[in-house]
């Protein structure tokens, strides 16, 4: 006995909503980064649930790709945050609103 596909989709949607609202509310660049990771994970849950209920391996492969993109994003994104912190001594995104320096 397992919950149906709709339960997993609802959980995924709720997690995505929390992540999207968090991106708007957080001012910390690292906090926004973590909210983006949460949204990626919500989408991954959708892929795995569909992969389970349609018996197809493609969804799980795509989750693998999403994880690779998330790892690359972590490396580059945290590099940008460190470079920004060096210039401004802050990771507040409101300090990065000039697109200059």
């Amino acid at each position: 006995m397992q919950p149906g596909l709709e339960s997993y989709l609802a959980l995924s949607g709720i997690l995505f909503t929390i992540g999207a609202v968090g991106v708007v509310y957080k001012r910390n660049a690292i906090g926004m980064f973590m909210c983006i990771e949460l949204m990626l994970n919500a989408v991954n849950l959708t892929f795995v649930a569909f992969s389970r209920y349609y018996g197809d391996v493609t969804g799980q492969l795509f989750v693998f790709m999403v994880m690779s993109v998330a790892a690359a994003e972590a490396a580059v994104g945290l590099g940008i945050i460190i470079a920004f912190f060096r210039n401004r001594l802050s990771v507040d995104v409101d300090d990065a609103s000039i697109l200059k320096f």
């Binding site: 006995m1 397992q2 997690l15 995505f16 609202v21 349609y54």
Partner: protein, 181 residues
Amino acid sequence: MAGTVLFFLFAGFAIACAVSMVYHRNPLYSAISLIGVFLALAALYLTLAAPFIAITQILVYAGAIMVLVVFVIMLLNLDEDKPLNRLKYLYAVGGGLGLALLAQTFFIFYAVLKTPKAEVDPNMTAGRTMSIGRAMYTEYLLPVEIVGVMLLMAIIGAVILVRKMEQPHLELVSEGEDEKE
């Protein structure tokens, strides 16, 4: 029955950790809450018969990425967020976005609930490591190669971004530069 209990246990844990991540102002608390979300999702992948993805989730997300995030938080010695002095309409934007996404979620929930149930094959092999590896190196070989190149680009990009470059001390010679601040 046990599957339903496990689903609601881990789903509740995931949602509670996600809310705690957005709620906390201290980035370190947020990071630890996010690790909770990742672990709960890994358990949910196990109930969805995807052990390879579950283990990869723990290794890559809870292991590598979150260690990197916590490392950066401690390296930069971040303290709590300052009180909000941002544009006030962002509250309305965030609330509206959240309501729209939740409405969409419940719409999808009822739409999927009404469609006839897809039969779940109890001895499905799609989640096994062998079937994933076979698909990865036959049918999806080109995407896997592209992912490899992308990871190499990310490594090079991260090194170039973080490296302290010897910058020549340039003097600004253009007129009108003094008036601006």
